[in-house]
């Protein structure tokens, strides 16, 4: 229990660092030096030191938005097994809770954006409401796959101890599909290229960034921290899917996990450098690929497990 809580704290504290890895990789591809690896900490400290400006259009929902979206990301991490260790909390059905908690975070982010009466933020909110619908279907398809394999509905059953190793032994090939499907969801849910461009300069083309335009100071810091944690959550699952950890030697497991995590973030950075953002109406097709892959993976397991 103690080590689980320590790992949870580690996850929250290191999440900003890993996000900076993406920036570094992108800078490398662009032939630039790039920001320092601790850039996100500097940003967070700077934001926490500042005050805020609130729009006259806003209400209490605008202030609730950052709190709830950050709290959902932190709560979700509580249920995530890290480096093969048991999560802080776990129960049968916690994955459903996790997915719906993320929905709750999204509800409040959208509500905070709609609060500002800005047409740009409305536009971002409409997109934020649209794409995750397909993501959610794909996520539940992946859950069906996992349930078919393990008969359990909790993240700890899939990833703690030798959980993911057992998955690979049972159904290696379909699991590859799942890894790709999950990576697509990672890109979509965390507003990365090719779905959304966090570094663009035109508000019309943004999704997540445009929704938080009006937030400032500690409020904005909470939003940033929440999105770092959310990305960590998805990246950690991808890592543990790819690297079935043997929890025999605890220290080694941790090293392998964090090395894998860095690789996942680097791949995200490489994807961002290699391809451009899709046109908005192409995004649903991209996300549907994820659903299709998860669906086929599940169908294949019908043959494997009878």
């Amino acid at each position: 229990m103690i080590d689980s809580i320590l790992l949870w704290l580690t996850a929250i504290l290191t999440a900003p660092f890993f996000s900076a890895v993406i920036l570094k990789v992108k800078a490398f591809f662009a032939g630039k030096k790039g920001p320092p690896l601790l850039i996100n900490y500097y940003t967070l400290i700077k934001l926490f030191k500042k005050g805020s400006v609130y729009s006259t259009s806003t209400t209490v929902m605008f202030k609730l938005g950052p709190v709830v979206s950050c709290a959902t990301a932190l709560t979700v991490l509580l249920f995530l097994p890290i480096a093969g260790h048991n999560p802080v909390f776990s129960f049968n059905g916690d994955v459903i809770l996790i997915l719906y908690l993320m929905g709750l975070g999204r509800f409040f982010t959208i509500a905070a954006a709609m609060d500002t009466a800005s047409p740009f933020e409305g536009m971002g909110a409409a997109r934020e409401a649209y794409f995750p619908i397909i993501c959610e279907a794909a996520m539940f398809m992946i859950l069906i796959f996992f349930f078919r394999m393990t008969g359990e509905l909790s993240l700890s059953a899939y990833f703690s101890g030798t959980g993911s190793l057992a998955l690979w032994q049972l159904a290696g090939a379909p699991l590859l599909f799942i890894v790709i499907a999950f990576f697509i969801i990672l890109l979509t849910e965390n507003s990365r290229v090719p779905v959304d461009d966090p570094a663009t300069h035109l508000e019309l083309t943004m999704i997540h960034e445009v929704m938080v335009l009006d937030h400032s100071g500690p409020d904005f810091a909470l939003i940033e921290l929440g999105s770092f944690c959310k990305l960590f959550f998805y990246a950690a699952i991808t890592t543990q899917l790819m690297l079935p950890l043997d929890a025999g030697i605890p220290g080694l497991g941790l090293v392998v996990f964090f090395a894998g995590l860095i690789i996942v973030y680097m791949v995200v950075g490489a994807v961002e450098s290699a391809i451009a953002r899709y046109r908005m109406d192409k995004v649903p097709q991209f996300v549907l690929i994820s659903f299709a892959l998860a669906f086929f993976a599940t169908i294949i397991t019908l043959e494997l497990i009878t």
Partner: protein, 652 residues
């Protein structure tokens, strides 16, 4: 049982007294609200004790020495009684400040009269224990709600809505009659017992007839067409009762018939799941396309009926594949969602009623920024929206959680049950996502941002009884969401009355699940508190200013530039284009100095669009051809009667 009838008498008497002393408007309203809510409270307490004690009661009256009117309260009836009385109680209280602004006091009094009848007849529908009692109360329910729908009869669209509702409810009743007819043919009496003895084919026919009949009352796609017309037409507390409770009598009917017919074949389960999936997804897609807030909520009822049907269907699949846990989870999840939907949907209708009452418009795109002027209504509406999206820690999540758990149990099965479970789970996920889009849209456009027209400016929320009802329902949504255990045990009692063939449903595994929901809610709320604490820590002694919204460099923004409800939903509707065709009208902009132009869009409901060509026109054509029978000659009419009697004598 006597207490139950006394409560009903009180409710009907309230309505009747209101009609008698209609001239004294305030007194008439007061006495109606007082007696109806007292009756509902009495009924609620009585139903609650029956449910917790799991008693069965049975009463029979002789009517005209021909028919026996029989009422029976078992777990399932008691559960629905709790839902009916609870929502009607709050709706009656709400109506005190909502009603009484019309110029015709008799109209209001008549409204209360039919409201009392509606409550009593709904209570009788769920307790009826033979066909005569059931159909009698069913018809009273349909007719009294018809009169409630045409409350504002001077508007032609309301008369049309009432007519549509009348036709649908009676065609639905015809199907139910036909179903009972089949059963009567085999059993030879009007009782509800002995239906299990029916031959298989008769059971299949009866089930599908009942399914169509009850489905049209419940608002199942494609028989939902009356719903989005009737709900906006009725006064808001009536919409709350109709959408929150009355359509659930259709669900009750399907459950009761399923129980009585004892249908083990899996195909019924698949059929119900498929109907649920179609209703659920299309309901919420159409809800997204609406610009009238009450129509939107009506379509969202279609969606929630879909969720309930998915739960029931998974329960039926569980029964047919001998998976007790899946069966109990599916049925109890569905029944739980009945309770939850009754709460948040009536809350939302009451909120919409407040908006309509104060601004005078139901059009979403004319509103905006109401949260600033209507704080309690706004917060209650947001709580209702969070609950209807199925988000934790609100009651919608608790209900959907059990349906998910039940559906996942089906993933472990093979072939058809497996496929149905996949369909159910993925559809629930899609419905959840769409509902989130739909209700962030309502909240964002109506309650947030800036007022889009004059109607939404300078509004105040008044009417303490209206606020009280909404506050109670919002509190209920949170309490059930955090502590679902007690309420879920109620659902288990209701499900055990279904006689699924499991001697006793053990409570322990389900208490474990509800415990998990409570635990997770506490963990989450604790984290929220901590984050809020951190936030306020960092805001100590900080400069905080208020200024205009950042316009991305544009300095002359107007309220008309805000995103509208139609633009918010545009992309999502586009994704579902074949099922939700979008028609746009806008004259093209021409010339160097273009004149004013306009834009209008409309999302069509395919069931409504095809109803005309597929049902109405063929029926009209047929009856047009039969017009020669109607010639106006009274002798021949008497001849028809004689002929009919002689023909009937051959059969009896």
């Amino acid at each position: 049982m006597n207490q139950f009838f006394a409560a009903l008498v009180l409710i009907v008497a309230g309505g009747f007294l209101s009609l008698v002393c209609a001239r004294q408007q305030t007194f008439s309203k007061g006495i109606a609200v007082l007696l109806i809510s007292a009756g509902c409270l009495w009924g609620l307490v009585y139903a609650m004790t029956q449910l917790l004690g799991a008693h069965n009661h049975f009463t029979t009256f002789q009517y005209l020495n021909i028919f026996a009117l029989t009422c029976k309260i078992d777990g399932l009836s008691a559960f629905f009684l709790v839902v009916i009385f609870m929502v009607c109680l709050l709706a009656a209280i709400y109506s005190f400040h909502y009603m009484g602004h019309s110029l015709s006091p008799v109209k209001d009094a008549a409204n209360y009269f039919f409201f009392g009848l509606l409550i009593a007849s709904m209570a009788l529908v769920v307790t009826a224990a033979n066909m005569i009692t059931f159909m009698l109360s069913w018809e009273i329910m349909s007719l009294s709600s018809f009169f409630l729908v045409i409350y504002n009869y001077h508007l032609p669209e309301n008369r049309r809505a009432g007519y549509l509702y009348f036709v649908f409810s009676h065609v639905g009743a015809m199907f139910i009659f036909a179903g009972f007819g089949i059963i009567y043919k085999y059993t030879g009496n009007f009782g509800f017992g002995a239906m299990t003895a029916l031959p298989e084919t008769a059971k299949v026919w009866a089930f599908f007839l009942f399914f169509v009949g009850f489905g049209s009352k419940a608002g199942m796609f494609p028989f939902h067409v009356w719903l989005p017309h009737a709900h906006p037409a009725a006064p808001s507390h009536i919409s709350a009762v109709m959408s929150g409770v009355m359509i659930k009598t259709g669900i009750y009917g399907i459950l009761r018939i399923y129980m009585l017919l004892d249908l083990p074949a899996p195909v019924f389960g698949y059929f119900v799941v498929a109907a649920g999936v179609v209703s659920g997804i299309l309901g919420v897609v159409y809800a997204l396309g609406q610009t009238d807030i009450k129509r939107l909520l009506a379509y969202s009822s279609v969606e929630n009926i879909g969720i309930i049907l998915i739960g029931m269907g998974m329960g039926m699949v569980g029964v047919s594949s001998h998976n007790p846990l899946m069966a109990v989870l599916g049925f109890s999840g569905a029944v739980f969602h009945v309770l939850n939907h009754a709460m948040f949907k009536s809350l939302l209708f009451m909120g919409a009623g407040m908006v309509l009452h104060k601004t005078g418009t139901r059009s979403i795109d004319a509103l905006g920024g109401l949260l600033k002027s209507m704080k309690i209504t706004g917060m209650a509406f947001i709580i209702g929206s969070l609950a209807i999206c199925g988000l934790p820690p609100f009651n919608g999540f608790a209900g959907e959680f059990f349906i998910y758990m039940g559906s996942f149990k089906g993933i472990g099965l093979d072939q058809a049950p497996f496929a149905m479970s996949i369909v159910a789970i993925v559809s629930l996920a899609v419905i959840g996502g769409l509902a989130l889009a739909c209700f962030t849209r309502v909240v964002g456009i109506v309650f947030q941002g800036e007022p889009r027209t004059k109607a939404a400016q300078n509004v105040k929320e008044t009417g303490s009884t209206m606020l009280f009802s909404m506050g109670m329902l919002a509190a209920g949504c949170i309490i059930i969401g955090i502590f679902p255990r007690f309420f879920f045990t109620m659902c288990l009692t209701a499900v055990s009355a279904l006689n699924l063939g499991y001697a006793r449903i053990p409570v322990t595994p389900f208490e474990l699940m509800t415990g998990h929901i409570t635990f997770a809610a506490f963990v989450f709320l604790l984290v929220v508190l901590v984050v809020a604490g951190v936030r306020s820590f960092f805001y100590r002694n900080k400069p905080v200013f208020r200024s205009g919204t950042w316009g991305c460099g544009f300095t002359q923004p107007t309220v008309k530039m805000q995103y509208t409800g139609s633009s918010y939903a545009f992309d999502i509707i586009g994704f579902f284009r074949p099922a939700a065709p979008l028609t746009e009208y806008h004259p093209p902009v021409t010339g160097r100095f273009p004149q004013k132009t306009h834009y209008k869009s409309h999302v069509a409901d395919i069931a409504e669009r095809h109803m005309d060509s597929a049902v109405v026109r063929p029926v009209l054509y047929l009856f047009d051809k039969l017009r020669w029978i109607q010639h106006g000659d009274i002798h021949l009419y008497i001849g028809y009667i004689l002929l009919a009697i002689i023909l009937l004598l051959f059969f009896i």
